[in-house]
């Protein structure tokens, strides 16, 4: 009966997860070879810890984002929800134990209540999203765009009122801070969280229904699935996962600055989900894939940092952009079809060639340019070579094109 289905090895090979693991290994090996300080050799444990911390922090809310994406929605608000949650967490501690806050020893009860209150605030944001989408009838993009802008502003307004006029809340308690940002602790919490979501998505009826809703919402409703409740669940998971990150991030950073904290993180979460194989059309995506997407994204950012050296966080956006484009292109079509495809055979193809040449030249200058007099000429040379190579490719492609016409 299963004669036609591909072999186990074939299925493994074609899975996003497997490709991500392979690419990840490639990145790690490449970094070992290219990094002039050989950090991955000499300080493997430290490097692993840094990457792990960043992966876990991204992982929490990327998983929330992934569930929303798989169920057919989108959440643009996670960065602001992180900032809001850090602010709310700090504010609650000030309000519940003002003496302890000043003295640097917040009482355990106050901490537990504050954490619970922060997660509740996250759930409330999720509920607000679900209401805006299901009852008011806004598209998810608009509903979460509103909270993306609104919640950050709300947090900025809240901070001075509780923090005595200051525009940031400093983390009060060093012991608590160390406990909350401890990489082992947060990794354990993350593993539990990820397992719970993995079970939810792959082994429960609710998870299957979320996937079905993402694939075809109308058909789901007509199958007797309560799509409104599922949306509530997805958006609550999304917002609560961002709240968890808000709490950890507050400790990690040592202060909550709502104006800049976690700004633009929502796009990293969406990027990680997409790299991990989630389809923005909904219905497709897995939890392990998303985790690997986070790991891959954070590793490659770290790797570039190692290779290029200091100040490389400037390039983070560029890396994320390139990785998203390459990863999605690869997952849409098999690697073999990539080579045969025509990229530069029409007007748009032709006109993008100078852009790509310019980008490669600049990237070369930024990444590898030494402070030598000839560095700009090197970059120009790289740009010219890239333009030349692409032009040759374009000519070949249009020849192939015309010969195959009737």
């Amino acid at each position: 009966m299963n004669n036609d289905s591909p072999s186990l090895l074939g299925r493994l090979w074609s899975s996003v997860e497997f490709k991500l693991i392979l690419s990840w290994l490639l990145v790690v090996i490449a970094t070992m070879l290219l990094d002039s300080n050989h950090t991955y050799w000499n300080a493997s444990a430290d490097s692993a810890q840094i990457v792990l911390r960043q992966t876990v922090l991204l992982g929490f809310f990327a998983l929330g984002s992934a569930i929303i994406i798989i169920s057919g929605g989108i959440d643009l608000s996670s960065g602001s929800v992180i900032a809001m949650s850090a602010t709310v967490f700090g504010s609650l501690m000030i309000v519940l134990d003002p003496e302890g806050f000043k003295a640097g020893h917040v009482s355990t009860t106050a901490v537990i209540l504050s954490i619970a209150g922060t997660l509740l605030a996250g759930a409330m944001v999720g509920t607000l999203h679900a209401w805006l989408i299901t009852s008011v009838g806004l598209p998810p993009f608009v509903a979460t765009l509103a909270t993306l802008v609104g919640l950050r502003s709300f947090s900025r307004g809240l901070t001075p009122t509780v923090a005595g006029g200051k525009s940031q809340i400093d983390f009060p308690d060093d012991n608590l801070r160390n406990a909350l940002k401890d990489v082992t602790a947060i990794t354990i919490v993350f593993i539990v969280f990820a397992f719970a979501l993995w079970f939810l998505m792959s082994r429960t009826v609710t998870g299957r229904h979320l996937q079905a809703m993402g694939g075809n919402e109308q058909a789901s409703k007509l199958s007797g699935i309560r799509t409104d409740r599922l949306k509530w669940l997805a958006y609550v998971i999304g917002a609560v996962s961002a709240s968890i990150v808000g709490i950890i991030f507050f400790a990690d950073q040592g202060s909550a600055k709502p104006d800049i904290m976690a700004r633009g993180y929502e796009l990293n979460a969406i990027a990680a989900s997409v790299i991990g194989g989630c389809s923005l059309q909904g219905g497709i995506g897995t939890i392990p894939g998303t985790i690997l997407g986070c790991l891959f994204l954070r590793t490659i950012i770290d790797a570039v940092q190692k290779i290029v050296g200091a100040g490389a966080d400037v390039f983070e956006g560029m890396i994320v952009g390139i990785v998203v484009v390459v990863a999605v292109t690869f997952s849409q079509r098999g690697g073999s079809k990539l080579i045969g495809k025509r990229y530069f055979s029409d007007e748009i193809g032709w006109s993008v060639i100078p852009t790509l040449g310019l980008l490669s030249g600049l990237a070369f200058l930024l990444f590898f340019g030494k402070r030598e007099w000839y560095a700009p000429y090197q970059a120009i040379l790289v740009g010219v070579v890239v333009v030349g190579a692409l032009a040759v490719r374009a000519v070949l492609e249009s020849r192939a094109n015309s010969s195959s016409r009737v």
Partner: protein
Amino acid sequence: MTPPIISIERISKHFGGTRALHEVSFDVMPGELHAICGENGAGKSTLMKILSGVITDYEGELRIDGQIARFSGTRDAEAVGISIIHQELNLVEQLSIAANIFLGRELRWGGVFCDDRAMEVAATELLKSLDCDIPPSRLAGSLRVGDQQLIEIAKALSLNSRILVMDEPTSALTEAEVERLYRVIAKLRSKGTTILYISHKMDEVFHLSDRITVLRDGQFIATRNTKETNAREITQLMVGRDIESLDLGPRSPRGEKVLEVRNLSLEWPGHARGYRLKDVSLELYRGEVLGIAGLMGAGRTELLECLFGASSLPPTGEIMLDGVSIMPRHPSQAKRAGLALVTEDRKRLGVFNTMNVGQNISMCSLREAVSGPLLSSSRERGLSDSMVSKLRIKTAGLTPPIGSLSGGNQQKCIVGRWLLTHPKVLLLDDPTRGVDVGAKAELYRVIRSLCSEGLGVIVTSSELPELLTLSDRIMVLSEGRKTAEFDIREATQEKIMEAATRSWQTSK
């Protein structure tokens, strides 16, 4: 002898491991109406997609007017004069009718501006030639399937195609619209258009065609002159065995009343009539098939949607299931009460394209496949497998994507999905749309056997012979009202059509 306009020479096509076409060769003569017959999965649609440039990689050769043609897209096919009307419609629902007809070939003024008025005028002309008076400024998405298909036909007409491929064009049309289509086809043929006509319906094929080509399992079986053959021979060629005219066995005896609907009405704000349904009452008994006949827009689909809690506005009236009053406001309530609905528009409202065959079948009954809080994949497989064998779904296991199955087999999956919920009443909205003879007969038998298990079934169909074969009683809707009800012994096509075209004013 004139040379053929289309020569298909040893064309083969594989989808992954599945063979869709294997070395198919035949000729089409200029000006003829050439019917292509075959069961689901016989390769008809694949062949037509190759012919119209939708599928571009295949083995073998296609010659148009003796020249080898290799289309790299539908534009190329249109350039040599081939247009296709797909079975699954392809309209941009957010655009107007006129904009859809001229999509990609917009009439312009000043080189850049859309000349909406000219397009609407031209669209009106085209629609008029189809005896259709819908204003071309209406959005395509606001039309029912039947009218949307007419737009597709109008679009093909606007291309002045020499060769027109029609993939089951009447599958969603009412009798009146079919008549209209026949007139259009006659008009096209008088202009010399060659038509390739895919259909399951023997009466249609014999009424229209000059020659008939039969495909089976991706292979060419035979081409016959229509005048020298008969429906029985063609059916025999299609299935590779002799099937008797449909004998579905004895009807099951009528049981107790299971469903009663009293004075069901559904508003239609902003429409001249003011209602989609008005004071519709009906009764359904266990073991009985109630057929609902009616033209497009008569309210068949709306009636089923109201019963299933899926109407966008709440209906008024009373629905009693097993003597208990229910008025479902969400399909989940209807499902829990024991109702099941197989929708009319499979692609949009039925199938989960991102999921495989097994997951599509088990979708509504997952609560039965859990152990503890978790889904048990073996139980889920068991449920899906039981339906694959019960409904004889033609699939290579449960793991292929649902989209790899033929339309008829996809429909069986959805019927199976609902049978797993153990419904008391099964609502089937045009269940055999786009399903071939063999699969239709199987669906009929399934429906009968479900009746013998005590299920009550309501079926709508745009084909009267189907309703007459299947139903124990037939109820007729016209313009949202019930205009007649017949016992099957007294029902005839003429009586039903008379009631379906009766408007409320004249029947008063």
